[in-house]
Amino acid sequence: MADEVKKEAPANFKVTIDNITVEVAPGTSILTAARQIGGDVTPPAMCFYSKLKGSGGKCRTCLVEVAAGSTADPRPMPKLVASCRTNVMDGMIVKNITSERVQEARAGVVEFLLINHPLDCPICDQAGECHLQDLSYEHGKEGTRYEFKRRTFEKEDIGPYIQLHMTRCILCYRCTYVADQITDNRVHGILDRGDHAEISTYISKAIDNDFSGNMIDVCPVGALTDKTFRFKNRVWFTKPVDAHRDCDKCCGKVTLWQRGDDVLRVTSRKDEWGEVQSYDSKPGWICNTCRFDKKHAKDWVIEGPTTINRHSVISQGHYLGLQKPKETIAEVMGGREPKLLMDIHGISDVNKVELSELPGPATSKTFTPAPKGE
């Protein structure tokens, strides 16, 4: 009898997101419902992290338009709402990519996030798996309208394994929730307010606990980086494999990032949305021993290659419907292929050689003056 009662779950809510209807349990947020549909319909989320209680609502990238509140009250909501923190109602109609208002607001948020971001992707360890990179490719403009000095902070070492580079931070607060919720002795939080607010530890104290490394995994940008991996390699040159070991502190299920047989980096396993995977409905956070100390393939039982999700740069060949940027370089060169990089830089002027008039590729002889007397 009790079992029968249990099966009668409360009626599901029907919610329509961008003309696709999905049934979800009451109490689901719009973002979670959209993730059930997946694909382009899902709003991007920089601060929301389903495994961290209280996260979300801050970055405003997941804003959506609610065209009808519910069947009972079909009035539209006047403002755009943060989909990560707004729960669905039965009969709700949500517009994400079909709403111009949303696209405009999102482009605005991306612009705001980028005006003080250093854009040092070429030297940033997060490049290739950075959510802000993905977001700006999708919604950002090609140039910036910001003409002022960007905000900078000193780099800070928090603990022996983690470096905090506040200049890159977008203040999503995820790491403070990690420090708060999965570790003891909270010493980590926000100092100051407004545009000079910064993530820090109280009086630059080191964060010293077994699960602090998870802050690196939740950071959507390169503000928190793994010191054992800093500048070792680009993400897209390493190959990820799933591996596990018996660990008495954590689940021991990880992704190894290898180059050859060297294990360059260990992270927790991420799901499609860049969040840590769950095992037995518990988030698979990993401990610092697994993350920082077990850097040999022999420490691990290798399961096989990791399934790569759309967020990773190594999946670039697997994107469906990818639009390649228009090749304009040929047009710039007057209809022919560029011969050398020097073509573009105009170094030929220095050597008094008009590269475009050469019949074939330029060689070293092209620039050598002819010997006298010949």
């Binding site: 405003r60 605005g108 948020v109 002022f148 977008i170 939080g189 407004g194």
Partner: protein, 458 residues
């Protein structure tokens, strides 16, 4: 001569002391409410009065009270928002400094209506001396049996605590205030849930402005219907206006909401006209975050009607040609003032006070400030004006709390109504460093904007 309900006894010497206050008829409303009325009857009376929140949004107080969730066995709280930090607003300070017992009296009656046994006054940190005044008043009330256990033998218990803020404007936002009161960092919460359901320590909470709570006293004394007779339409009762800027008599005035803006500025009873024989250029009628209005639109609405000092009339025309009653911080600018510099000052304030939680406000307010500083210093470009417009549009409505809107509106309104002054600042950069734009052509009096213009905005 308008009616005065809150400040009619403010001039009496030592009214801040209990004995004088009681002799002048103080605490009558508590006696009446606790002894002869049920809590619901008090709420009903407030509903009838049509009292609207005096903190800025103008939400009907009685309705707010009736939204309060009342689950069994869960305490409820009344929190008085005395974190008055809006530039140009200083009405609550006057009220608390001179007649603190009026607030305490209102709090007892309101707490009784809401069923709260603990009430808090969250006061701005800079009002340090007022904390002492309030605490003395609370002590006096306690000594005379108006607070504590079993008040007036009715079995109703109430304690009032005063909590000082630490100097953040954002803590005037109700959910940030509650966070701060709980001892956390004063970041606004994401709504829903609203405080009426989950407020202080996750319990149902009502947050009201000082003046709103003080207005409960005359409502109970005279009855809600009597109170509702004062004023025009849905703007009932009296409102404290803190007038400042280039007027002859700055100060806190209590108006019954029946007078016109023109009368308020020029009559000797109130502001006494523009100081030093200058001319009215612009005015911010409700505290720094509401849209600024040029003189012509301030005195008459776009329809050509006289603008009154009421919630509806000040908002007439929406943001295209109107403004808001806001918190009643009435800032008057004469023709010697520079709107660009003024807007920059406000933008600097909002950048400084943004909590930094959500990105549009954190990044956008600083950006706007820098652009405005450039224009003010004669380094602006024409495209900056459109850029400012675009930035404010992307902040407004996209933030967690209303601070983003409050930062966007003044900039939007300044560009909307004073675009020529911004342009003059850019094209005559050198001139702009030496002299002000003055009145030029747009100020008082000017025909209302054409219909085409109105259709374009909002």
């Amino acid at each position: 001569m308008g009616r005065k309900l809150l400040l009619d006894k403010a001039h009496i010497e030592n009214i801040r002391l209990y004995d004088v206050y009681r002799r002048e008829g103080g605490y009558r409303s508590v006696e009446k409410a606790l002894k002869t009325m049920s809590p619901d009857a008090v709420t009903e009376e407030v509903k009838k009065s049509g009292l609207r929140g005096r903190g800025g949004a103008g939400f009907p107080t009685g309705m707010k009270w009736s939204f309060l969730a009342k689950p069994e066995g869960v305490p409820r709280y009344l929190v008085v928002n005395a974190d008055e930090s809006e530039p140009g607003t200083f009405k609550d300070r006057y009220l608390m400094e001179f007649i603190p017992h009026l607030l305490i009296e209102g709090m007892i009656a309101s707490s009784y209506a809401l069923g709260a046994n603990r009430s808090y006054i969250y006061i701005r940190g800079e009002y340090a001396w007022i904390v002492d005044i309030l605490e003395q008043a609370i002590q006096e009330a306690k000594n005379n049996g108006w607070l504590g256990k079993n008040i007036l033998g009715t079995g109703y218990d109430l304690e009032i605590y005063v909590q000082r803020g630490a100097g953040a404007y954002i803590c005037g936002e109700e959910t940030a205030l509650l966070e701060s009161l709980e001892g956390k960092r004063g970041n606004p919460r994401i709504k829903p849930p609203f405080p009426a359901v989950k407020g202080l320590w996750d319990c149902p909470t009502v947050v009201n402005n000082v003046e709103t709570i003080a207005a409960v006293v005359p409502i109970i004394n005279e009855g809600g219907d009597e109170y509702a007779k004062i004023g025009i339409g849905k703007s009932t009762g009296t409102k404290l206006i803190s007038a400042c800027g280039n007027i002859k008599k700055q100060g806190v005035y209590e108006i019954d909401m029946t007078i016109s803006v023109e009368e308020f500025i020029y009559s000797d009873e109130y502001c006494g006209g523009i100081a030093n024989g200058r001319k009215l250029k612009a005015c911010i009628p409700g505290g720094s975050s509401v849209p600024i209005l040029p003189a012509n639109l301030l005195l008459t609405t776009a329809k050509g009607e006289k603008r009154m000092m009421t919630y509806e009339s000040l908002a007439e025309g929406g943001f295209a040609t109107g403004s808001m009653m806001g918190s009643g911080g009435f800032i008057v600018l004469d023709d010697s003032q520079c709107v660009v510099k003024h807007t920059y000052t406000l933008a600097r304030f909002y950048r400084h006070e943004s909590c930094g939680q959500c990105s549009p406000c954190r990044e956008g307010t600083g950006w706007m400030e820098k652009i405005l500083l450039n224009i003010e210093n004669g380094k602006g470009k024409m495209s900056d004006i459109d850029l400012l417009w675009d930035i404010q549009r992307k902040i407004e409505g996209n933030t967690i709390c209303p601070l983003g809107d409050a930062a966007a509106w003044p900039v939007a309104a300044a560009i909307r109504h004073f675009r020529d002054e911004f342009e003059w600042h850019i094209t005559n950069a050198d001139d702009a460093q030496r002299r002000n734009y003055g009145l030029m052509h747009y100020a008082d009096p000017l025909p209302p904007p054409s219909k085409g213009e109105l259709a374009g905005v909002k």
